[in-house]
């Protein structure tokens, strides 16, 4: 009997401690937009994964490049084959931290401004990215929304002259993730 109680207690502790720290999503929504006079391009992936540690503020994102869906099939093919070279660099990864963790109360329902700094690895190149996003805590679920610009040149992605006017030099990346406790 004692042993049962003990092990039950242990399991409870395990569950509670894990429950309270790590949050995960397998269906984060990442999108990016390129606006030029000639053409607007947007792509969406709803298969990005992300994990958040509310204790340390650590935040990671990972997305398979081939999961981005474009309006035009040819754009998608060019994106994968020529620009981000998905076969060589199959995924993009962001490793970062919430820097103003003290201002975000994950235990209490509410909306908080959060500043995130970290390294974005895309097309084999890693660069620092800082952005401010919004974190919403509601009934045990955590949602995060953020946007930041990415200068294509920074990541050694070269755009052929023929389509230079169709693709903007800076694309706006948007992140929308709803986490569940692990």
């Amino acid at each position: 009997m004692k042993r049962t109680i003990l092990s039950l207690a242990f399991i409870c502790c395990l569950a509670i401690s894990a429950y309270s720290q790590k949050y995960l999503t397998k269906s984060a929504h990442l999108s990016f937009f390129s606006k030029t006079k000639l053409e607007n391009i947007e792509a969406h992936s709803r298969q990005a994964t992300s994990a958040l540690n509310i204790e340390t503020g650590d935040l990671v994102f990972k997305v398979g490049m081939t999961t981005f869906q474009f309006e035009k099939a040819l754009m998608q093919e060019h994106f994968n084959e020529k620009y981000v070279e998905s076969e060589k660099y199959p995924e993009a990864i962001f490793k970062g931290k919430i820097t103003n963790l003290s201002e975000v109360n994950f235990k209490k329902d509410g909306t908080y401004k959060a500043t995130v700094t970290g390294d974005l690895t895309l097309h084999g190149v890693t660069k620092k990215v800082t952005t401010t996003g919004t974190i919403t805590v509601a009934g045990g679920k955590i949602s995060a929304v953020a946007a930041f610009p990415v200068l294509i040149k920074d990541y050694n992605i070269s755009i052929p002259n023929a389509v230079k006017d169709n693709i903007s030099e800076t694309v706006e990346v948007k992140v929308d993730a709803t986490y569940s406790p692990l």
């Binding site: 395990l14 790590k22 994964t49 340390t56 990972k62 309006e71 040819l74 060589k88 490793k95 169709n166």
Partner: protein, 316 residues
């Protein structure tokens, strides 16, 4: 055990258990890696861009226009180099074909074309029976079937005799077996049968078989070198009829794929370039030519699928 002890133990255990979860970024990343690995194993990732467009050079490639995409194709095969400087090495004259192809699903497309050679109208259907993929379903090859029927609109060569409409008809069937070996190199075997309802005389077979093969090697992100052969199995036609050999490049810009080639094939449909070619490379009887492929997205397949799913959900 009293309650106090239990509480203490619980606290100690909870602390102990929380230590390994005091995660660093890399732990979180490991977590994601485990997620994506299992996701990868559960999704099928289809190979894309085995070839750049729906033709390798003159013959069909395994590619079809993406669902909801209309492809307009215009092809020229100029006169032979033997026309010399007076005929600007063949550029003074050309065979022309234009065609529209439309993709209905990721595995079905139809086409319609018109060639100046034989004033021929052709309609075709192209199916992918198997698609090269990794992940949940590992398939090493893409296999497709191409079927085409054509009607020529030339005046009868012997108007005096009883001519049947069916004599204008011809057919072609290709089986396409392709593999993208890596980012830059793809290979395809294309056994092809062409059937003409009417042939000049008994020395011609109505049904002619050719073994086709084609390859693509990318040399830069926008440029690839292609080669194609349709080997005519001997004994089916008089000896003047030839296999065709072509070499060319694919040059890709935004929405266009330009294909330039040197070839001894004058026709741009199987019904023509399999049983009707008489020019030989070794005689210098070759010509330059081009295909221009332009795609137009006319329907958003993704949205169509979503709407379809929504309708299904409503019903049930």
């Amino acid at each position: 055990m009293n309650l106090f002890k239990l509480a203490l133990l619980t606290f100690a255990l909870s602390w102990a258990a929380s230590v390994p979860v005091m995660a660093q970024e890399d732990d979180l990343l490991d977590l994601l890696n485990a997620q994506t690995d299992s996701a990868k194993a559960n999704t099928i990732e289809y190979t894309y861009a085995t070839f750049k467009t729906t033709r390798i050079i003159s013959g069909q490639s395994i590619e079809i226009p993406a669902p909801g995409v209309m492809q307009f194709l215009i092809g020229h095969r100029f006169g032979t180099f033997k026309d010399g400087w007076r005929g600007l090495f063949g550029l003074d004259r050309a065979n022309i074909r234009f065609a529209f192809e439309y993709g209905f699903t990721p595995w079905l497309a139809v086409g319609f074309g018109r060639s100046s050679a034989d004033k021929m109208y052709d309609g075709s259907i192209k199916l992918k029976l198997l698609r090269q993929s990794t992940g949940k379903r590992k398939i090493p090859l893409t296999i497709g079937l191409y079927a085409s029927g054509a009607i020529h609109s030339m005046e009868w060569t012997n108007p005096d005799r009883n001519n049947y409409f069916t004599s204008r008809m011809s057919y072609a069937f290709s089986l396409m077996i392709a593999r993208k070996f890596n980012k830059g190199f793809s290979l395809q075997l294309t056994p092809t049968v062409a059937h003409q309802n009417l042939v000049p005389d008994k020395t011609f077979n109505n049904t002619v078989f050719a073994m086709g093969a084609g390859a693509r090697q990318m040399v830069s992100k926008s440029l690839s070198i292609n080669a194609e052969v349709f080997y005519l199995i001997p004994g089916q036609l008089p000896e003047t009829y030839q296999s065709t050999y072509s070499i060319g490049i694919d040059l890709e810009t935004g929405g266009h794929v330009f294909q330039f080639m040197i070839t001894n094939a004058r026709g741009m449909v199987e019904q023509y370039f399999v049983p009707r070619e008489t020019q030989r490379w070794r005689d210098g009887d070759i010509q330059i030519g081009f295909n221009i492929n332009r795609v137009f997205t006319v329907a958003n397949y993704e949205k169509m699928q979503q709407r379809k799913a929504a309708r299904k959900e409503k019903k049930s």
